[in-house]
Every structure is written in C-alpha cells, then in structure tokens.
Symmetry: C2
Subunit: 470 residues, 2 copies
C-alpha cells in the first residue's frame, strides 16, 4: 500500500463501514435508472398503479424451479425507507430535484405482493410473483426483487437436482468458502436445506436459520498430529459420539484401517464412530473397499461420507458405478449453481393505469394482465398440467398457486417455518412427473394459457400500437 500513514490505533476505515453496508439493504439497492424513471414519472404525473410479473424465461438445464426468497423479500419490502443519509447521497449526485427527493423522504412500499409460497415448484414463463403498486414504487423495487427472489430460487432449484441424484442419501452443504460473497453463503445454506439437504457446515446459517450443522475434520488436523491414528484418537476424545474421521490424508484404505482401530477402542469405552470421510480418488471403488473393511470389522453402521467436487452428475455417476456412500458433502458446484450460475429472471409490466399491457418483440412476448397460475393433478395426485390464467378467474379442478402475501405494504400472515417449507418441497417434488425429475434430460412440463387470459392478450393486441413493454 502506498499511502503509508502509520496508525497508532486501528484505522477506522473498515469498522463502521462494513456494519453499515450490510444493514443497508434499503431502496438504494437499485439500478440508477429506476430512480431516474421514477423522477420522470413523478414530474409527468404518471403515478398510476402498475402490475409487474416476475418469471423465469426458459432454462436449457432445469426442468423445474423451486421458488425461494419470499420471506426475506417481504420483510425488506415492509420496512423499505430512504434514510436521511440515502437522501443526502442522492442530493449530492446532483441528478435529482428537491421535489423528487422530498417525495422519496416519504417513500414506502404500499403495494400488493402476490406470490407462490416458498418451496413451490414452478416452470418457465409462469409468473411466480406479482407486484401491484403505484408505478414509482413498483419500479424502484424491481432490482431488489429480481435479486432477492432470483438467487434463492436459483440455488434451491439446483439443490433439488442434487437431492434427486442422491436417491435418499443425506447431502450436506459445504459451500461457504466458495459462495459469491457472504450473503450468498447464508442464502445457499437456507436454500439447499429447504430443497432437501440435511445439514450445512455453515455455523452462522445454523444459528440464523436453525439448520442442523455438520462437520468432520480437515487434512490439516490429521497432519498436526504425529500419526493418523493419534489424530483420530485425539478427535474422538473431544467428540466421543460425534466423530467423522477424514481417512484420505495419506492413503484411503490405510486410513480406513486406522479408523477401524480407533473405532474399536471407542466402542470398548461405550462410544460409537459416526463416520469416515473420503475426499479424493475413485469414490466408487474406494467406498466399496472401505465398506468391506468396516463390515468385516463388525462396524456396519459407520457412515461413509464423500466430498470433493460433487454435484448431481458426479453423484449419479458414482452411484451408478456401485458406490457405497451414505452421505455427500457438496460445495462449490451447488453453492454457485456452477452449470447455470444465473437465472434468466425478469420483471415485466403487465398492467398500467387500468390497462393491460404486453411486450411483443419476437421471442420475448410477455403476458398482459394480473395473472394466476393454476395446477391440475392427475388421478394419482401427480402434477398433470399448469394453466396460466387471470387473477380473477377460477379453474375447476385446478389449484391456484399464488397467494396474497402483502396488502397495502404489510404482510398479511406470519411466514411459514423453514421446516414447513422443506416439507412442501418434498411433497411438491414427489408430485412431479418422473420425466420432470430426471437430471439428465430436458423435459418440458405442459403449461398452457387459459381462454380468458388468451382473450385479454388478443384485446391488448387489437387495441395496442404503442402498448408494448419490455
């Protein structure tokens, strides 16, 4: 660093600043154009109510999505205010007039938020959130909503595939060191747990969300002792009933033998080894050899946990090759949704000032009108078809998915517990057609548009000209 001012005490630079930064998820978490457009709307008295639909355009690698982000988004919306420091900043940019800044001082979100409950399965093109509010409010929250619904949805949808591939085996989130920032680390733990992971290594997420936390040991621990057995014994002494030994530091099979020796000592003292972890090599082959050693030693209940670069594809591969693995630790590939690190999520105007509007650009058509998604099940209870309809219709034998979460800017109900969301995911994914759950093949679930919604589109198209939107 060039600026060498010796500092007797801790330089203040970072302290308060970081704290503030993370607190400050307020209305400045937005793209500048949302504010300049708002200033334009205000000046020209275009302040009527608008409805925006949030949806994901098609995805080449996901057959379905799991809705995430609702609890946090609703909580943020309900307390969205410009602080005086926010307003000072905006004033100092020199971009905005006093009238607009005065207006922002009184800003709050007064609108309606409709959304599918967290953990609900949805498909491309289906609105899973709709916002109806004065256009200035609806516009200012666009960026926030895309981010706060999008990322948890991205991760939950990825995690559901990993849970699917694990075929009932436990999956633990190990991603914290490689997530895209701090907030992502927390959201990944919550979203993967919601999607069916059984625990996380993320201690803060454990505290924050009451998610079970799980951990083993690192190679550095093994090498800090004189030999592998010493390290295992030392660990077992501290965690006599909750030890998982990492056995690949030197040689996995030798490591398994050392684990067996220490486990037997533990058993003589009335304790049990919880598991061993493999972290390198051919997991299918090694896990079978380790299992045989454990079974031959009379330790059939010791779990075999595997980690290192797992995702749904690698899990399916090792299980397909006969791996004897009880649990997977999954890190980076889940934590950044590595094969598809962003959702093509958009927020599109559907209604403004009492008029339905849509965008007609080729390949980017949107659906005008306040909408609802209806789901029909077959005789066996499986999801058979979705119908995108209007928010005011009812469709015989089909369940409407979006509920009203906020009205007049206030939450109507307490959000469900995370465990409840997790149960919903389990029941929802169990109701999916088998082809939809496959991780190796793109399959398109049937989604159609109701007659009434179709008619609205035709009316809009007839009367339009200028009423497009993108």
């Amino acid at each position: 660093m060039n600026e060498r001012r010796p500092a007797g005490r801790q330089p203040g630079a970072g302290r308060g600043r970081i704290r503030m930064k993370h607190q400050a998820i307020g209305p400045l978490f937005t793209d500048l154009y949302e504010l300049t457009m708002a200033a334009g709307y205000l000046r020209h008295h275009r302040t009527a109510e608008a409805t925006f639909s949030l949806f994901v355009r098609d995805s080449p690698v996901r057959n379905y999505f799991l809705a995430g982000g609702l609890e946090e988004t609703a909580a943020i919306l309900s307390r969205l205010r410009f602080t005086s420091s926010d307003l000072d900043y905006l004033k100092k940019t020199g971009k905005f007039g006093e009238d607009f800044l005065d207006d922002l001082a009184g800003f709050r979100f007064t609108g309606r938020l409709r959304a599918v409950p967290e953990g609900t399965v949805f498909f491309p093109e289906e609105p899973f959130v709709e916002v109806t509010a004065p256009i200035i409010e609806a516009q200012i929250v666009e960026t926030l909503l895309l981010n706060s619904f999008g990322f948890p949805t991205l991760i939950a949808s990825k995690a559901a595939r990993i849970v699917e591939a694990a075929e009932g085996r436990a999956v633990v989130d190990f991603s914290l060191r490689r997530t895209q920032g701090f907030d992502a680390g927390l959201k990944v733990a919550r979203s993967t747990y919601m999607a069916g992971f059984s625990a996380t290594s993320n201690v803060l997420a454990g505290k924050q969300y009451k998610i079970p936390i799980s951990g083993t040991m690192a190679h550095s621990f093994v090498t800090a002792f004189d030999c592998e057995s010493d390290a295992f014994s030392a660990y077992a002494e501290v965690f006599p009933d909750d030890s998982v030994f990492l056995i690949d530091t030197y040689d996995t099979v030798e490591g398994a033998k050392n684990a067996v020796r220490v486990a037997r000592e533990m058993y003589t003292r009335g304790h049990r080894l919880r598991g061993v972890r493999l972290d390198s090599g051919d997991m299918a082959d090694l896990s079978r050899r380790v299992r045989k050693l454990l079974v031959d030693a009379g330790l059939p209940d010791v779990q075999i946990i595997a980690s290192s670069g797992f995702d749904e594809y690698k899990i399916a591969d090792v299980l397909g090759r006969g791996a004897e693995i009880d649990a997977f630790g999954v890190g980076t590939n889940a934590g950044v949704s590595a094969d598809a690190p962003a959702l093509d999520i958009v927020y599109k105007l559907a209604r403004f000032a009492g008029r339905n509007v849509r965008k007609l650009s080729p390949g980017k058509q949107t659906l005008a009108g306040e909408k609802q998604v209806f789901r029909r099940r077959d005789a066996a209870g499986k999801f058979a078809e979705d119908i995108i309809g209007t928010s005011s219709e009812t469709i015989e034998g089909a369940e409407p998915l979006m509920e009203t979460i906020m009205e007049d800017g206030r939450m109507l109900h307490r959000p469900p517990a995370l465990e409840e969301i997790r149960r919903r995911v389990r029941s929802q994914t169990a109701s999916l057609p088998d082809a939809c759950r496959r991780i190796d093949k793109k399959w398109t679930y049937p989604v159609r548009i109701s007659g009434r919604l179709q008619k609205i589109q035709e009316e809009v198209d007839k009367g339009r000209g200028k009423w497009s939107n993108s």
Copy 2:
C-alpha cells in the same frame, strides 16, 4: 402459506433478523469443522503458530488474476469477536465443552496478515495472502478468508478481461439484479470498478464506495407514454443534460430517428443529448446505422451505448464486426463470472510449530514455508518472470509483492483509496506481456521457485513421513 395466524401489526419475523444477519459477519461465518478442530487443538495443547498460504490453483480460462478483498477482510479480522449470542448458540448445539467456549469468549485474531496490495496481478500457484497466527485462530478464519478474498478476486479478474475487450471504451456494471445475493451486488460493483469499469448502475455501491453511478431508462418507461418521442421528451425535461434514450422498444432505427428529433429540440434549448442505448438485435449492424443517422443529423457526439448479454467474447465479436459503440453495459456475465463462477482457491498449511510442512499428493503439491512472490521486469518495464521465494530472502532486481498488512491482529496502515487501487490495476495490466492479456487464448506466465525455497521443499521431503498436509 399454511400457518394462517392473522397479524394485526407487521409480523416481527423478518425485521430485526435481516438487519442482524448482515451485521453478523463474525467468527461464526465458518465451517463447523474449523471449530471442532479448534476444540481438538485446544484440548491437546496444539496451539502453536501456523502459517497458511492462500492461492489459486490453475484456471483453464484465466491467464492472470487481480487480487481483491483485502480492505474488507482486514477490517473484519481486526474486529473478529464471538458475541454472547454466538456463544449461547454454540453452547446450545451441545457439541462443545465449557473450556472451549470460555476460550472462544476471549478469541480475537492476533496474527500477521501478509498480502499483495489490492489490484495486484498474480498467477496460479502464487501465494497472494499468507496468515501467520496460533493455529486455532488461523484455522477458524479459513472459511472467511477463502470467501472474502476469493469472490472479489474472481470478479475483478473477469472484469479485467471485459475492460481489455472493450479497447478503451467505457464499460458500466449493470449486474445488480442478477448477482448471487446482496453482498455480491456490492462487491461486483467495487471489483469491476477497481478493474477498470467506468461506473455502475448500483446506487448503493455508488454511495458506499463513491463509484460513479450511471443509468439510462427501461422499456417500461417508454411504453408508459403515448409514443416514444413523448417518452424521450418527458425524460429530457427532467434530465436535460444527462439523458440516454433507449431506442429499441419498437424499432431501433425508428427509435434513433425519434431520438434525433428530440435531441434537436434539446439543442435549441441549450442542452445536449448524452446518448442512445441499443438493447437488442445485431449490435454491429444497428450501431453503424444509428451512428450514420446521428452524424448526418449533426450529432456526432451523442454516445452509442449497448447492452444485452455482453461479456468479453461478445464485445470482441461486435467490435471485430465493426460496431460503432462508445460504451457497454455489462450485467449478468460479469456479475457472476459466468464462464467460471468459482475460483479454485485454497488455504494450505505451510508451517506449523516451527516446522515447514507441505502436502505431496500427486497433482496437489503445496509449497512449505513462509513465502514471498518476487517479480522481475524486462528492459521495457513489462513483467518478465515471477519467482516464488522464501519470505526472508531478497532477490536482486525483483520486486517483492506481499506486504505486511496486519501485525498482532492490527492493521498497520490505512487502506488505499479505491481510485488508487484502480490506478494500480491500470499500471499492472499495462505491464503484462501482450499474450497474457489476450482473452481468446490460454497463456502461461513464467513462474519459478527460488533456489532457497526449493531447498526448503527438499529438506521437508527428506525429513517428512507424516508432515504432509492438504
């Protein structure tokens, strides 16, 4: 939501919780095993000093990296404490004994942090951060350090390629809506600016980091007025000297003509149109047609700004096909580093209790000892070669890159201003060999190991057996 307890007032669920969550980047931001290993070390009195090296293993798609994350990481380390609520939580997990929890109550980071300054170019396998501290401290901060150095480095390194491809044209960060969480949105704005982007659309980042903010308008604004010209005029009335018109809502060429008409009216009132934005279609072709219209209309200074799916590859493509674009808005692909959404970043034990240690697994060898990276320049001042040496040696004619940032857990100097970091990036990338700056071809910069460091490795290997680590 199933749990339908009507709530007279705002349900409290989200309020305090979210605020707390973002404040709480403390020592619980860690993997559980860091804490269980710490408990093991403490019980067995293995509390000696350790040195860990942070580095990136090879990357298939990056020729170099830009170091990020130092300012925030050092600030967090300097105030790292377990709160009483953290300790209560750990106690409630039932995993830890009183002795260990008492020890954590007094925990702080007392170590040394050595690092290359933010914005420094570095290469695979080179340690760009080293931590020396009692092993318990060094281990507990592992997860935090990997995350907080890793993500800004990932993004800055991606952004540098985009800046390179833009060949001097302005690049603006438009990613906020698609970043992986809130914290990522802020870090992307800072890291891309550091790497040479000229502005961000992210208003909060503008406030937080004093980054220039920039914005245009969305299609929804255009469609909220009776015709495109009305929307342009309305916007220009509010922002008479800072307007960029989005011209592709209906038809880009017609949109350009409308922009020209409104711009001429603006000029008669003494104002100037800043630019027009293209957001769809063939950008090479459309930008040339729009430029011709602007030049023919006597408006050669109106900027042409292009957005929609840009990254270094698409920028190089459109410029290669003769696009007349002055500035690029770059979103998702930069904001999640889409082609490589995670760094293969690791934190490896290099020295413990006075002994140098290394890991020898095939393909995953690490370098024992406290290290330094030395950089040699050629006669023209370009980077010619890096030498990884010991922290105590000096290498004639080569500049040592890592500086001591913290000693005894305290920052020694005020961190440099972001503008200074940005200047360092510019000077560093200008000093790279041309082949290294190419975005289309993998090229390996020469990095070798000093004789003294090599000797340490040989000594470790001779005396080892057990002293491996991974």
